[in-house]
Symmetry: C2
Subunit: 632 residues, 2 copies
């Protein structure tokens, strides 16, 4: 029997020294529990999402230096770990030093090598280069190396013979994407399995996305049963970012039996390490119950966001937050979310009403603050807004022909900017913390928010959630607290920015969205692997299949009385989504990613003119012509 | 003799229909001038920097549709053009439809094919995936295709036989990076030349970077003389962006003789098309002087920025700008730059002084405005700042233990945010335009700017220029105008934010930078291909070679009396550069790229802890120990 310990290391991106300290402790723990093999995740010293830090040769040398320390620390056990491997004699295609995303096996203080392979590590075969992934920007893959060295991929992927106490384990080692090989010409799991290893070990740095674990189970179960091999999957924990998008890493180490059955999966985010026994006779990998399997009762969205917010705050050293609460759902969910990871005294809630804010929402904001037991400040901003408008007017009136245009949108934006840039930013600086951005994905899609106003803050924690998901998260937060913190009235309210007389919640006036339709429409522009445009939408509309294609619970024909009104709505939002909203998103705060396509670095956008294809324009002409009433 | 016309098309990214209209006009012009072959640049229908628009299948179909139109329009001449080629039966590694960055040759209304090659286009061989380039994210390269089809790269790169009036031209066709093959295992120019074409044609979408044309001359001259072939290089014009970074495309079509000599280069940005005569007998490619060769007398930086600002404004449909001018150099250069592309009435200059702003700078701002002949508004903000501080104080004093901390930085940021988020944003909305961000690369590096304050605006036109380049640009702008617009006093002034009593320009107090040192120090962190860190800097300091390595004109030992003071300065700025400044850069406005590494999408950054390598810490210990006076 071989005792294997996996560590879902909480990797601090870029901090090689601190990661080494944590690894050192894990090695000591593994020795204490007499583990034969310790398994650490991909890129466990450097972190995975570290941007262009890979351009610093001194950083590469640092990774090598600490990699050596891990190797020397393998005196009493074998260690499998991920690190960058540098071949200083070669270059990548970009002319920089040759780098591989690699797995190392160390034992007895030395690297374990494989016969006839001229380098002592396994090279990541498949380099993901989609969504947030930029592996091909930094690393050379196994295929290139295979051609250069004139060694077959089969050879280069051959299993490692790993000392394990008195025994020896023949294991195929894969790095993350190597197991997600659906669309690649090379299938690493198949190739390695042909070399008859006793098991497969996949070390990963796999960012959390809603539903990803199900896809992983499908792929890994299929592979383990197909190749009759147990598979152990070991992932990082922690929070890493590429600037615009912060990704949580959920750990969730999982063991699959040779029959394809999931033997055990660590609960997300929490468990630092897991132990397994591999029995050669039965070829079986059995979990030792080191941790608690009692998965959190919260949804993955809430779990991921609480983890992400907590990690983000500690990463930037902030212990206090200021949150502007309007009495609406977005800021209420924001307040409850931050309050679920911080003591009440460290969350300062601020309500900044003008004459447009109803008693209804002001009371709801107060009720929310009182339930959350946070300090609460009310700071009416009306007189400032009036003064600002008067001043701008008098300034503009100096020059003939340059009169003040105090139109609706201009006045609304002045309010929004005053709230964030003057009040919240000033208060948070004095409070000694950050202020938050409470944006959601629906308003981000349409640019329905004010730059330097409600679109500002250090973190937009919920900006990867559609409006209907915000409500869901609110309900889950109410469950999470001992008693509900978000008043029912906030759920019942018509969503509104309350920036003008025409957005009066008491008259059921507010945001220009039909959320149960536009959430799904916008989602189709962004999240499908092959993204949809008005051409797809209009063709589904004409086929009467739009609802099932985009998933809206509403009937489109009951929402829009005529094709003309449907098209007007579609083009209105497409123009915003692909036009001005992009300019706003460029300057918006970082968010915590949960979907399969967050804005930011995951969905890479250029400022372009909104565009309609010929096929769209043809369909539009047809449908409007056939609907003759429309043309009278 | 073959008459070739090249079009440095002003490509509008994402607007296939408009690009087709412009191409149609170019085809008509080429027919009028009886050209035999018309050459259009890479991706002439779609544009090149369009982000993840490639995920939209309807956009791909649109490119195919308009590609067909170009092919059918080749009735009376041959046309070489770049477009995406989609193989709907295959997928890329990401599972999306298979896409190639391709070159097509059309003649007589049909595609020109090559014998035994199962697709009617040339595939880009080398896919750049560094800096701003993401080619591997979207396209499959020729090497993969070659393995799949079991056809050699040599075969797949074979030249096209192109009808040219009564003659036939055998030409090798390359796409952009294919000629910049220094670091790649495959050398396309060498391979194609072995097939004995009569010339090489490179169609490009090559973004401008300072000094890039010199590197191009070196590479293309070397290739043409080595292979004894004329080379024609045809590039796009226009402005394209990937959100954070706007890149100008300079056109600059260039013809190289078989002797390696540059025969002609179009002046940057201006010339729409050029004509060449290819004489088979002499193997020579001679320019017909269709355009003016009189290069602009302005520097490339000024030319690129004027072009970029102009294009940016027209792309977003803005005709008016509001610029906050302080009397300092950054805003003065910004004002002169915008004024150099807009009539005076469309540039509104605003000075927003507090008691910290000196008479000196207020007078200089007024003088600048009067020389630029722009409308000029003075709006003192002191009373608003005072009111805001009083209000924040009274709000914070509500809760015991939560007192107002009106420290220096907090007060400074309140001023900066008031200027931009309240005054400039409000004025620009009413004026009907944008307001500008006047940041430079030095302050962006250190985060020496206020979010939602001076770090806001629709465009940061000069944010890719170091402070010393800002001065240089100011001098060039003074040359560009009939008489100097930026007063000498602004050049003479100590740079200062004038946000507190300690930044008094009349006492020669101001910014915390020694620009002639820190510009170069920061540059070494960012712009070298292998980026430098404190480890490199300290080792050069110890070797006494720092000045020559980073290029500062100052003597480091005269700036810093002791190693301790040198190290304190280095760590202070490194902590800011790699720490808090990253958080600010994530939310800063888009910039116009001119350097070989602008912030944004070109230099991809994560929010990380500032890090010092072991080698750095060792050196630091040594130097501080040896400098024993430091430890007393």
């Amino acid at each position: 029997m071989i005792h294997m310990m996996s560590v879902q290391l909480d990797v601090i991106p870029g901090d090689v020294r601190q990661n080494w300290k944590n690894i050192q402790e894990e090695i000591a723990k593994a020795e204490q529990s007499r583990a034969d093999i310790l398994i650490l995740p991909e890129m466990c010293l450097s972190g995975y999402l570290i941007g262009d830090l890979w351009d610093q040769n001194s950083f590469l040398r640092e990774c090598e230096l600490y990699g050596e320390k891990i190797i020397r620390a393998s005196k009493n056990l074998s260690i499998i770990f991920g690190n960058v491997a540098v071949d200083w004699k070669k270059t990548n295609d970009d002319g920089r030093p040759r780098k591989y995303n690699a797995a190392f096996v160390a034992s007895g203080g030395h690297l374990v090598t494989r016969p006839d392979i001229p380098f002592p590590y396994a090279v990541k075969v498949l380099l993901p280069n989609y969504r947030q992934f930029d592996d091909k920007r930094y690393f050379t893959g196994l295929s290139e190396l295979s051609r250069e060295e004139n060694l077959s991929p089969e050879k280069l992927m051959s299993p490692f013979t790993i000392p394990a106490g008195d025994e020896i384990l023949k294991a195929g080692i894969l790095l993350c994407e190597d197991s997600w090989d659906e669309n690649y010409p090379l299938r690493p799991m198949e190739i390695i399995s042909a070399c008859r290893p006793e098991m497969l070990i996949n070390i990963s740095a796999s960012p959390f996305t809603l539903g990803k674990e199900q896809k992983r189970h499908r792929i890994f179960s299929a592979a383990s049963s197909r190749f009759h091999l147990p598979i152990l999957y070991v992932n990082q924990r922690g929070l890493q970012n590429n600037g615009k998008d912060c990704y949580t890493f959920d750990g969730m180490t999982a063991a699959y039996g040779p029959d394809g059955i999931l033997k055990r999966e660590s609960p997300p985010y929490t468990e630092p390490r897991s132990s397994f026994l591999f029995t050669r006779e039965s070829g079986c990998l059995c979990p030792c119950r080191t941790g608690t399997d009692a998965g959190s009762s919260s949804s993955m969205t809430l779990t991921a966001l609480r983890y992400g917010v907590n990690k983000f705050l500690s990463a930037i050293g902030a212990e206090r937050v200021v949150i502007g609460i309007s009495g609406g759902i977005d800021s209420a969910v924001g307040a409850a979310l931050y309050r679920s990871v911080l003591p009440p005294g460290q969350v300062l809630l601020v309500n900044t009403p003008t004459r447009f804010n109803s008693e209804t929402t002001k009371n709801l904001a107060g009720e929310l603050a009182s339930r959350l037991q946070c300090p609460y400040i009310i700071s009416p901003i009306g007189s400032f807004i009036d003064q600002t408008e008067q001043e701008l007017q008098s300034l503009m009136d100096i020059y003939p022909g340059m009169s003040w245009k105090g139109t609706g949108v201009i006045k609304e934006n002045i309010q929004a900017r005053d709230r964030s840039s003057r009040i919240l930013a000033g208060l948070s600086a004095s409070f000694g913390g950050i202020f938050t951005c409470n944006a959601n994905k629906t308003e981000l899609s349409a640019g329905y928010a004010t730059l330097y106003g409600d679109m500002s803050g250090a973190l937009a924690a919920t900006a990867d959630l559609w409006k209907h998901q915000i409500y869901q998260l609110g309900r889950e937060l109410n469950q999470w607290f001992p008693s509900p913190v978000i008043p029912d009235g906030i759920f019942a309210l018509k969503p509104s920015a309350e920036l003008s007389d025409s957005q009066n919640v008491d008259h059921n006036e507010g945001d220009p969205f039909i959320y149960d339709y536009h959430d799904y429409l916008f989602r189709s522009f962004i999240e499908p692997w092959e993204r949809k445009t008005p051409e797809d939408i209009l063709s589904w509309y004409m086929e009467n299949t739009l609802e099932e294609h985009i998933g809206t619970p509403l009937s489109v024909h009951s929402l829009f009385p005529s094709p003309r009104s449907f098209i007007d709505d579609l083009e209105h939002w497409w123009n915003l989504f692909s036009g001005f909203a992009v300019a706003k998103r460029i300057q918006c705060p970082p968010l915590i990613a949960v979907s399969r396509r967050p804005y930011g670095f995951d969905l890479r956008e250029s400022q372009l003119r909104p565009y309609y294809t010929e096929a769209y324009l043809d369909m539009k002409r047809k449908i409007l012509n056939s609907d003759s009433r429309e043309f009278r």
